[in-house]
Symmetry: C2
Subunit: 188 residues, 2 copies
């Protein structure tokens, strides 16, 4: 194995996810992940703090996409409009790695500790949205509420996207869920 390892990080992530799906997260070791990727444990730990981090390293990209989309939403956009644009942006990222996203979710669904970690991630994405909205001049209460509700919509749409038997896009589920939200709140 040469010292130059093209996309070691990506190979490790792919190997890890394969093993988590095959054997379960708890029954997979870092040594096995490194071996499957044709790399050393030392290389693994240069890229990831632990085997859990492999599943959550994408969070920072989602955060950046959400924050960037909110910042760039048209000035006339309401807080929820801005959140909607941001969620569609995040949907684009996940759509591009659809198989990964679905396999990852099946691993998380099978493990309570990972479910907890995933909820923490979603809570941090809500904070990201809140901060981005406040930077647009949205007052704190409206920002927090639009962000919390936006993440609730995202969570709901994401679950439907993962569970579908068809091939509809996440962005479509998000648009439907936002429309559903409007219908639900208008009725009441």
């Amino acid at each position: 194995m040469g010292r130059w390892q093209p996309d070691a990080r990506g190979r490790l992530a792919k190997a890890a996810l394969e093993l988590y799906v095959e054997r379960g997260f708890d029954r997979t070791s870092v040594a096995e992940i490194a071996e499957r990727a044709g790399l050393t444990e030392r290389t693994f730990f240069r890229h990831y703090a632990d085997k859990r981090e492999v599943l959550f390293a994408g969070s920072s990209e989602l955060r950046d996409v959400l924050a960037g989309a909110v910042a760039q939403a048209p000035e006339s956009a309401t807080p929820l409009d801005a959140v909607a644009v941001a969620l569609e942006g995040a949907a684009g990222v996940l759509e591009a790695r659809k198989e990964h996203a679905r396999q990852r979710q099946s691993v998380i669904d099978a493990n309570t500790e990972l479910q907890e970690r995933e909820l923490i991630k979603l809570a941090s994405l809500s904070e990201t949205l809140t901060d981005a909205l406040r930077q647009r001049g949205v007052d704190e209460a409206a920002a927090g509420l639009a962000a919390e509700v936006g993440i609730a919509v995202f969570k709901f749409a994401f679950r439907r996207w993962v569970d579908q038997t068809g091939e509809r896009e996440l962005a479509q589920f998000i648009r439907e869920s936002l429309a559903g939200l409007r219908a639900v709140t208008a009725d009441a």
Copy 2:
């Protein structure tokens, strides 16, 4: 100490919360909780599986209140109306133990592991609402969405209630947040 221990469970919970606030959750042992309550460790473990459970034993009451309120909401109530009634019911429970709820939250805010557990609790309350709505004949998608959004509103309102310097009731924050939700979605 006699064998008959009036409200041992309540005394243990009170002692535990006091100690968590004074010393922090991690620096409190079951032995110290039992001592503060004037009881034995054995008695503690008859009531609680561990020191974390003391903080989450109230979840089942909240679940019952939410499910009961949704079931009893008028037939004409929309899914979000039914969720609103349920959240106000839960607010009543928390309002009755306001000081406890606030102290408990300060303990949770200081500890990442407890924050994760609290998010799991909220996710399970969302499932409770979904199930209760489905039993009213609400279709799965509308039930899931109203429940997720309802819990987002609750989380938001609860945080404002805990952080307030005044003495306004949680139910009032919930009503305001639901009104805010309607405003936010109508605008968009």
